[in-house]
């Protein structure tokens, strides 16, 4: 979706406000809880990582722009869990007591498994999928697509010409995975010159490297 979350290249956002490495990692107690809930929900498989990102980027644009990142996470969590039928608006606003969960899910993450599960992570590579359309060294163009759903092809790379630098192999396609299908395909690292992306406002000799899937790209004809 062409949302405000897709920020690469936008103007007017102001200077970057630095933080020291030893500053607190969380800036309020509720941030800790939101961070932890978001991770604890993972192993229940009630929603996948791409559905979760797509839920965040659907926050009302004016609110997205004026929220802290953990507020965006909270909004996304409530949205996706509501859509999945896990929680309801009535339960969130207190007009309804907590109802039993009727959707199927994996067991909850027990405290003693936190380090094991988080140290293991997930796997996004797959053995089977779409045959690679492109080869390393090939020149490609970011497709001019504007899907209403989730996409990891940033606006700033659409219609732009780059070079395939690496083929990372078959991966779950995030754009599809956010909407219920894995559609596994090759993931590539694609290099775009700064001048190709930003014209005269770019810097000759500088490059931007973006990880893009097969369906994000087209051959130059």
């Amino acid at each position: 979706m062409d949302g405000v979350h897709d920020m690469g290249g936008m103007h007017g956002m102001g200077p970057v406000e630095m933080e020291n490495e030893n500053d607190p990692k969380f800036h309020a107690d509720w941030e800790k809880r939101v961070f932890a809930i978001n991770n604890a929900i993972g192993p229940t498989k009630l929603r996948n990582i791409d559905e979760s990102r797509h839920a965040r980027e659907r926050m009302k644009p004016s609110e997205y722009m004026s929220s802290s990142y953990y507020q965006i996470w909270l909004d996304g969590l409530v949205r996706i869990l509501t859509e999945k039928g896990v929680i309801s608006e009535g339960e969130m606003n207190g007009t309804l007591s907590a109802q039993p969960v009727t959707v199927s899910h994996k067991p909850l993450l027990p405290p003693e498994a936190v380090d094991i599960v988080m140290s293991k992570g997930a796997t996004y590579t797959r053995d089977k999928g779409k045959t690679a359309t492109f080869k390393v060294g090939e020149t490609v163009r970011g497709r001019n697509i504007h899907p209403a759903g989730h996409t990891r092809l940033p606006r700033y790379a659409r219609g732009k010409v780059g070079e395939i630098m690496e083929d990372y192999g078959l991966h779950v396609f995030a754009d599809a995975s956010a909407h219920g299908s894995e559609s596994s395909q090759h993931l590539y690292n694609v290099r775009f010159s700064s001048v190709e992306l930003w014209g005269d406002d770019g810097t000759d000799g500088d490059f931007i490297y973006i990880d893009l899937w097969d369906d994000h790209l087209e051959a130059l004809s």
């Binding site: 030893n22 993972g42 990142y69 936190v114 995030a174 500088d206």
Partner: protein, 206 residues
Amino acid sequence: MGHNHKHSEPLSDTALRAKTLESLLVEKGLVDPATLDALVDRYENKVGPRNGAAVIARAWCDPDYKARLLADASAAIAELGYSGAQGEELLAKENSDSIHNVVVCTLCSCYPWPVLGLPPVWYKSAPYRSRVVREPRKVLQEFGTDIASDVEVRVWDSTAETRYLVIPQRPKGTEGMSEDALADLVSRDSMIGVTRALDVSDAGAR
């Protein structure tokens, strides 16, 4: 977000809503409060940029390790005991006299947790995400990092599950220093690529 929002808004609706969500999920048997405590403890106290600093210091001291880190960063980092969520497919990018690397996630907040922990607020903020792909040299300058015009800047936009770790250049005058002492020179920001590693005289300033 536009103004980074380092400090949270009044306790407010957000804190209440977070509490409501937690209570609801606990009551539904989907979340254990002790699990939440363990997750916070892990990322507040155990997993952070000192992990990445140990990796970089090892790479500076051991050319074979650096070769492994560049060839398969996930495996090389696992040698030191770091692995997992938001770092399943790690790639290391080495700075040199002619190349400077810097990492961003323009679409959300992707960041290599096993080696750097959780991202600072600015990394997830609109100013950094919008600007660093278009004017990296200017953004780096604001971090106090001047990049000479004959050095190539490479910006890595983390749009998939691949995660990038910058190997900063080893500072001059550090020959013979121990790995532990070298790790103190490797700041979080130098592994994102917005700064260089610290000089020996600045080590306390991290």
